[in-house]
Symmetry: C2
Subunit: 229 residues, 2 copies
DNA sequence: GCAAAAGTGTTGAGTGTACACCCATGC
DNA sequence: GCATGGGTGTACACTCAACACTTTTGC
C-alpha cells in the first residue's frame, strides 16, 4: 500500500487507514452513469472500482476528494459533497481501511475521459449495467443513488448534471432518469418556473427536426433548497 | 495520545488518526439538551466536549460508536446514526485527527448519568446554554441539530426521545421544542393519527390537576419514513 | 404536408391551515 | 367551583394531478 507522507506533520498511528472514494454521476444517452476505473495491480487487479486514494496527512477530506476528482478523473469545479463513511472490517483484503465516500455530479459533455497512469482503464458505466466491483463499492453506489434521488426532489442539485444552458425538456429528462418515472410536462414546467430556480437565457436550441426550444439557466449554480416534487 | 492496539491486525499507518464522537440529544425540562463530558487531562483539560474515542483497529465505526455510548455514557439500545465526518486539519492540537460524528437520541428519564473514570464531569446541557467547547464540537452540535430538525419532519425519529408510552401532547411538545415553533394541536393530532405511526396504548396518564390523557405508543420503534410536517 | 418535439390552461380532488369550545380531573 | 391541560370539527385556501391540442421547425 502506497501512502503519502508529509514529514512535517507525520505521526505514527496504529489504527484503520483512511481513504476517500469518489462516486461520480453523469447522464449519458438517457441513462445515469458512474465513473469507474480498472485497478492495475495488487490483489484487486482487473477489478472495477470507484476512483479513490489514501488521505494525505495534511489535507482535509474535501481537499483529498477534490484532488482525486482532478488528478484521477480530470474533473475540476464540479458539484461535490460528502456522502457517508464506510468502515466494514473486511472491506479491503489488504488491511483495515475506512473510506469516506464523496459524491459528485458532472455534465459528461464537458469532460473528455482520459486514462491516467494509475489505472489500466477508465469508463462511464450505466447504473443498470455495472460490472463486478472491488471492495464495497457497489454498496456505495446504491447509497449515493438513494441520496441523489432524495436530493433532486428538494434542491436544485440537478444543475450539476447540466451545462450552463439547457431546455426545460432536458431538465425534465434529468428528473425522469433519476427518479425512474415519467413526469407530466405541463405540471413540471409550471412548478420549476414558479419556484424561480431557472431563468430564460438568450437563444434557442435548434436540435434538428422539430420546433426550437427556449434555453434556460439556473438562477444559482450552488445548492439551494426548493421543494420541486 | 493513547491508542488502542490489537496486535493481531495491527498495521502501521502514517496518516490521520481516526476517532468517533457521539452527539447525544435528549429533552429535559422542555429544552433540547446534549450530553457533554469534561476532559480530565492533556491540553484540553477542563474543557467540555462530546463523548468520543479512537476507533479500535478491529471495530467498525458503528461498533465503536455503540461502545462509546455504552461505556462512556452508560447508554444502551438507543437510536443512533452516522452524522458526518469532520476533518479540519487543525481540529485537534495534539495531531492530525479525523472524527466521524454519530448522533443519538435518548429518553433522559430512562438513564441516570454517572460520571465515569475517564472524565471529571458529565452533564446534560441545554443547546441554548452551551459552554465553550474543545475541538470543533460546537460545529458538530449545530450540524446534528440541523439533521434532527430536518429528520423529525419526515420520519418517526421522535420515538428515540420518548418512552414506550406517551401522550399526544408530549409528542407534540417534542416537535415544538425541536422545530422551535408552536404547532396547532388539532392539526397535529389529525396528521399523526392519519399517518398511523402511533396507536393507542392501554391506560391513561393522570398527571395531576387536569383531565387524564390517552397513552399512545409508536407502531414501529425503528426508523420509518412519514411526512409529518 | 408530415413527423417531431415545444409549448400552453383548466378543472376537480385532496391537503393544509386557521380557529373556539366543552370535558375530566385535582384541589 | 375553578384552574389545568385533554380532546374534538369545520370552512376556506391552496396545491397537486390529470388531461389534449396548437406551434414551429426540418426534411
Amino acid at each position: 500500500m502506497k501512502i503519502k507522507n508529509n514529514p512535517d506533520s507525520a505521526q505514527l498511528i496504529i489504527g484503520p487507514a483512511l481513504a476517500v472514494d469518489t462516486l461520480i454521476f453523469t447522464i449519458r444517452e438517457g441513462k445515469l452513469n458512474v465513473l469507474l476505473i480498472k485497478i492495475g495491480s495488487g490483489p484487486y487487479q482487473g477489478k472495477w472500482a470507484l476512483p479513490g486514494g489514501i488521505v494525505p496527512i495534511n489535507e482535509t477530506l474535501d481537499e483529498a476528494a477534490r484532488n482525486i476528482l482532478e488528478k484521477k478523473a480530470g474533473l475540476k469545479g464540479v458539484y461535490m459533497e460528502q456522502l457517508y463513511t464506510f468502515s466494514g472490517v473486511a472491506r479491503d483484503v489488504r488491511g483495515r481501511m475506512v473510506s469516506v465516500a464523496y459524491f459528485a455530479l458532472v455534465d459528461s459533455d464537458q469532460f473528455a475521459l482520459k486514462t491516467m497512469d494509475y489505472y489500466t482503464d477508465i469508463q462511464w458505466r450505466a447504473l443498470d449495467h455495472l460490472p463486478r466491483m472491488a471492495f464495497d463499492h457497489k454498496e456505495i453506489i446504491q447509497y449515493g443513488f438513494a441520496r441523489l434521488q432524495a436530493k433532486i426532489e428538494y434542491t436544485n442539485i440537478a444543475y450539476g448534471l447540466l451545462p450552463a444552458e439547457f431546455t426545460l425538456s432536458e431538465l425534465q429528462a434529468v428528473y425522469e432518469i433519476i427518479l425512474e418515472r415519467a413526469l407530466d410536462k405541463r405540471n413540471f414546467r409550471k412548478k420549476i418556473l414558479a419556484l424561480g430556480i431557472v431563468q430564460t437565457a438568450k437563444g434557442l436550441r435548434r436540435g434538428g427536426v422539430s420546433r426550437p426550444a427556449q434555453l434556460y439557466r439556473f438562477t444559482q449554480r450552488s445548492l439551494m433548497l426548493a421543494q420541486i416534487l
